[in-house]
């Protein structure tokens, strides 16, 4: 029955085919052909047209003109030339001046004892170390200097770097990684900024020395942490501040910072290049100045190029923190170690500082004296605290543009040089500074 039914349908179809008008058949035929063509033809040729031919590639390569490696619109710059040692007198461009320009806070730069010690080391070890610390670049003097620094600062351990600039810039990224959060003072110096950049962490700037602003940021972060506690458990948080700011010549409110540290469980990294060997009764820096337990600061870093009058830098703190840098501090692992004679000079300088803490008092008296003398200079604003060893003079009223201000300040500096007083114009990389300090 079923089969006969199908047959019937087939017969009907054939019948219908015969009965259909010719134009209909032709139309259907064309449609079928069209469908077959669509099925078998390549659909899009977009790929082929978007792909460049070798010729076109060649043309592109021919056409491309790179920018010049460096822009040419800068004048050739000649630095002032210093002949002879930069001690309290300095010879600049052939002219002897009183030196108010070098970071030689304790006058150890031409100290005879330091020189003798450095020379003895030079005669024993030569100049270079020819290797990083790991590969026969660790000298006994390096170990001695590290022990000495740790003892001086009353911390468990110290680690030395061969370059001051690289110290904090290497230390920050050794701990703080992508995903971590760093709270930083806006006035932080350039090497801190480079360290922050290298760490790839999330950076939050607070207004200079404004603890309320910092607390606001910390609170915000606390709320954020409550929302996402799993993430918060692995997000390290740091505050990075300077003891005595090189850019503003004022001091950080350390006691408040320590309070905030424990309240919000944030670690503090303290950069003390300007305050080490300056502040405090024994020159231990801003912790001693405020009488704060040094253990409350997670990491202290300073260079040995200012008060210590050598080269290099160091970090100190608890072994738990510091030791990590021996494998993770880039400037420590991958750089040749500090020339032993510079380490020897630093050791001697530390000994002098230990033996005669009076030099810090003398320095502070002199600072206050200069501060008083400079205060109220007409047309100039004095920036800094009275006991800061480096003070800034700013124009009271700007001339309107940064260039004009710089020009005027340069004239003042030149005028002083004429009168045999060496000052210096603070120079900044205008494009690279996060918050450009005003001309000074």
């Amino acid at each position: 029955n079923m089969a006969s039914g199908q047959q019937w349908v087939l017969v009907e179809m054939v019948q219908a085919f015969y009965e259909a008008p010719a134009y209909h058949l032709i139309l259907e035929g064309i449609l079928i052909l069209w469908i077959i063509r669509l099925v078998f033809s390549k659909t899009y040729k977009l790929h082929e047209t978007s792909k460049l031919t070798e010729k076109e590639k060649e043309d592109l390569i021919e056409e491309w003109q790179p920018e010049p490696l460096v822009s040419k619109d800068h004048p050739s710059l000649s630095y002032d030339v210093v002949t002879g040692p930069p001690s309290h007198k300095i010879i600049i461009n052939g002219k002897e001046c009183i030196n108010f320009a070098s970071f030689n806070f304790l006058g150890l730069l031409d100290n005879e004892r330091v020189k003798v010690s450095a020379l003895a080391s030079l005669k024993k070890y030569g100049v270079g170390t020819c290797g990083p610390r790991g590969f026969y670049g660790t000298f006994d003097v390096h170990l001695e200097l590290e022990t000495h620094l740790a003892k001086f600062m009353k911390t468990e351990e110290a680690i030395i770097y061969s370059y001051g600039f690289a110290t904090i810039a290497s230390a920050i990224p050794a701990y703080s990684k992508r995903g971590d959060i760093i709270f930083v003072d806006e006035a932080a110096c350039f090497s801190i900024q480079k360290g922050l950049q290298a760490s790839r962490s999330l950076i939050k700037y607070f207004k200079h020395n404004d603890m309320e602003d910092l607390e606001r940021l910390l609170k915000e972060q606390e709320l954020e942490d409550h929302k996402n506690p799993r993430k918060a458990r692995v997000t390290r948080k740091f505050i990075v501040v300077e003891g005595l700011y090189i850019n503003t010549a004022d001091i950080c409110p350390l006691p408040k910072l320590v309070k905030l540290k424990y309240k919000y469980k944030v670690r503090i990294f303290l950069e003390e290049s300007m305050s080490f060997g300056v502040l405090g009764e024994h020159g231990r820096g801003v912790t001693e100045h405020f009488g704060i337990n040094i253990e409350d600061i997670d990491l202290i870093s300073a260079n040995m190029e200012n008060a210590v009058a050598s080269i290099g830098g160091f970090c100190c703190g608890r072994s738990f923190v510091i030791d990590h840098q021996r494998l993770s501090g880039q400037g420590y692992c991958f750089s040749a170690s500090l020339p032993p004679m510079l380490a020897a000079a630093a050791i001697e300088a530390l000994s002098i500082m230990e033996e005669d803490p009076d030099i810090f008092t003398v320095l502070r008296e002199k600072c206050k004296h200069v501060y008083k003398a400079l205060e109220g200079t007409p047309g100039l604003k004095l920036v800094g605290v009275p006991f800061a060893p480096a003070l800034h003079l700013q124009l009271e009223r700007s001339l309107g543009s940064r260039d004009a201000d710089m020009q005027l300040l340069r004239t003042i500096v030149d005028h002083c040089l004429e009168r045999r007083v060496a000052l210096t114009l603070a120079r900044y990389l205008e494009k690279d500074e996060r918050f450009l300090p005003p001309p000074r």
């Binding site: 030079l122 026969y136 260079n303 880039q330």
Partner: protein, 634 residues
């Protein structure tokens, strides 16, 4: 005939034709890459075939002497080997691989690869080279690779076990602990971060940071130290290990000395200027001797102008960001030093990494970069900077500078050459890799180098066109923010550089350069003849010798020290995980006698630890079959 289809394997077939003369062979490499459908006619004995099907990943190597060695996939695919192999196959598949030969500078087959074997094939681009460029990177034997991984496996298991014991206070824990007051802070370190340090590095830590108490010359005195708690802490015994032959310091030309012209001059300068500077170059730290040094450096390098910096590491990390920025592209060799990597990262430019010393990888990137422009926006790149090193300190390889310069000119890129290890150590006049290849230093846009190594001082320089240096004087981070170079160091460089240039009126410099070159050739040849696998260029004074297994790192260092020889051993993360190695740095001050003593000791320790891995000397007799695999020799 056996057809291998779509097997996830890497097969390296190596055909050697022994030519006349000592051990020089021509090598041909073919690798079939994973998941690529290729039919390669291979005559392979059945047992090998079984291995292929069972093992899944391996390499087979054939030679005219008909030996077979298995390899791991990872080492087969590594670096240029795999790459060279790819190319060979692509070549076979005719020019379907995107490039038309005539447009590219470097597309001829069998050229830019780490040759598996010492290889003197004269390549078509040899017109660029004035002397043979011989560089060898013998492959890791399979058995060694497997054992190495097993070694790490065992160490890891024991590491976990020890951590477990420490956690339950069964084993005393020496790791410094967080303060009680800060226990509730977010931990400063992730636990796994230090696993490697705690459980692997700590076992062999005594091989690093060995304190020395003498000038780092040809022989050094080491401070004797012992550890009573398995390397957690060291105690100095007060004794000194005298006259250890120093194969570790980068004292290529021997200017780390405490007597002689250099030291005398530095003493004088210290007396005059003191030690520190106390200011930056831009402010009050620009002394007359700094200017003298910079003029000398410019003259030495044959460039218009030069600038010097107080630290070699910082020279890279603080100056690359000044030269490039957003919208620029940096092409960086994969084995570049940490300072270059940091500098490149800080610059904010786009970074692409090309395979080590592989010109095809570089050329492809250059072409692609120019053709496609910046990602997403397709704007043209502002500039393209190629960053390479002269001598790679972990590989001992020398940059293929003539080819890079040709590429750089062709594609209008800029070239940053870091000569940290090569300046002084290479070239008939000690003027680095440019001198070595007899090229014009004006073809290199940025000549960077350090004074730490050959000059026995510290710091770094950048040389180039006057406008570049003027720009740096304005914009370099170092010029504005970092203290300038201390006077005694400046003087050391001036004196040593003048000696190298022969301006002191003696032939001391020339003698040392020749001596270093002789030492290098002698030492490398001897090690090779002894059957060690050594990496790198025949002329490189940095000689890495393969140890592979983690336990041998420590053992080699200690055994050598027992024999009064100081060597550097390195492992992961400074090298790929299975390629741990010892590194010897030769110096002009090494006498033939010292080298012989050292070689004797290395050979002894090599026997003891079974380090003579090289298969060039004694082919394995048991794995032979007849060689009718001539198809592979293309």
């Amino acid at each position: 005939m056996v057809f291998i289809d779509d097997l996830c394997i890497g097969v390296t077939a190596l055909a050697n034709e022994t030519t006349q003369g000592r051990g020089f062979r021509r090598a041909r490499v073919i690798t079939l890459h994973s998941r690529r459908l290729i039919h390669v006619p291979l005559r392979i004995p059945d047992f090998v075939n079984n291995i292929i099907q069972v093992g899944g990943s391996f390499n087979c190597e054939m030679s005219s002497r008909s030996r077979l060695t298995k390899m791991t996939e990872s080492s087969a695919n590594k670096l240029l080997n795999g790459d060279a192999c790819n190319r060979t196959i692509n070549e076979k598949k005719s020019s379907k691989n995107g490039f038309v030969k005539s447009h590219c500078l470097f597309q001829q087959p069998h050229k830019y690869r780490r040759t598996v074997e010492k290889n003197q094939n004269v390549t078509p681009s040899s017109s660029l080279y004035k002397k043979p460029f011989v560089e060898s990177f013998e492959e890791t034997p399979l058995l060694v690779a497997v054992l190495t991984y097993m070694g790490y496996g065992i160490l890891t298991i024991f590491g976990y076990l020890r951590d477990f014991l420490r956690h339950w206070n069964i084993e005393k824990c020496h790791v410094a602990q967080e303060r009680e007051e800060q226990k509730d802070f977010v931990p400063l370190y992730q636990d796994f971060e230090n696993f490697y340090t705690r459980n692997l590095y700590m076992r062999i830590r005594d091989n690093w940071n060995r304190p020395i108490c003498s000038v780092p010359g040809a022989k050094i005195d080491l401070v004797d130290r012992v550890s009573h708690n398995y390397n957690w802490t060291f105690e100095h015994t007060g004794k000194v290990v005298k006259d250890v032959i120093n194969l570790g310091s980068y004292n290529y030309l021997g200017f780390a000395e405490n007597t002689g012209a250099c030291v005398d001059a530095s003493i004088e300068v210290t007396q005059k200027y003191g030690v520190g500077v106390g200011s930056t170059r831009c402010e009050m730290g620009n002394m007359d001797i700094h200017e003298e040094l910079e003029q000398l450096v410019a003259r030495f390098l044959g460039v218009e102008s030069a600038m010097t910096f107080g630290m070699g590491f910082a020279t890279n990390s603080m100056n690359i960001p000044v030269l490039t920025g957003k919208g620029c592209l940096i092409l960086s060799d994969e084995l570049n030093h940490a300072s270059l990597v940091l500098g490149v990262r800080l610059s904010g430019s786009t970074i692409r990494v090309f395979k080590h010393n592989n010109m095809q990888s570089l050329e492809k990137m250059l072409r692609d970069a120019i053709v496609h422009g910046q990602p997403r926006t397709h704007r043209p790149w502002k500039k393209i900077l190629i960053v390479v090193e002269g001598i790679y300190s972990m590989e001992g390889s020398i940059v293929r500078l003539p080819e890079i310069i040709a590429l750089k000119k062709r594609y209008k890129a800029y070239l940053y050459l870091d000569e940290a290890h090569s300046i002084g150590a290479l070239g008939p006049n000690g003027r680095g890799v440019v001198d070595y290849f007899d090229l014009d230093s004006k073809d290199v846009d940025i000549m960077m180098g350090t004074f730490t190594k050959s000059f026995g001082a510290s710091g770094g320089y950048i040389g180039g066109k006057k406008e570049l240096i003027d720009y740096l004087r304005h914009h370099s981070h170092s010029a504005l923010y970092a203290t300038s170079m201390p006077p005694p160091v400046v003087q050391q460089i001036i004196t040593s550089m003048k000696i190298i240039m022969g301006e002191d009126g003696t032939t001391l410099g020339a003698d040392r350069i020749r001596q270093l070159s002789e030492n290098t050739t002698y030492f490398r040849r001897k090690l090779h003849d002894m059957g060690f696998i050594i990496y790198g260029n025949d002329h490189s004074p940095v000689v890495p010798m393969m140890l592979y297994m983690p336990a041998k790192i420590g053992a080699f260092g200690r055994e050598m020290l027992k024999r009064n020889i100081g060597t550097v051993v390195v492992g992961f993360p400074a090298t790929p995980i299975i390629e741990s190695r010892a590194r010897f740095c030769l110096s002009a001050l090494h006498t033939r006698e010292m080298l012989d003593t050292a070689l004797q000791a290395i050979s002894e320790v090599g026997e003891l630890l079974q380090l003579k891995y090289s298969r060039h000397q004694q082919p394995h007799p048991s794995l032979e079959w007849t060689s009718e695999d001539s198809q592979l020799q293309d």
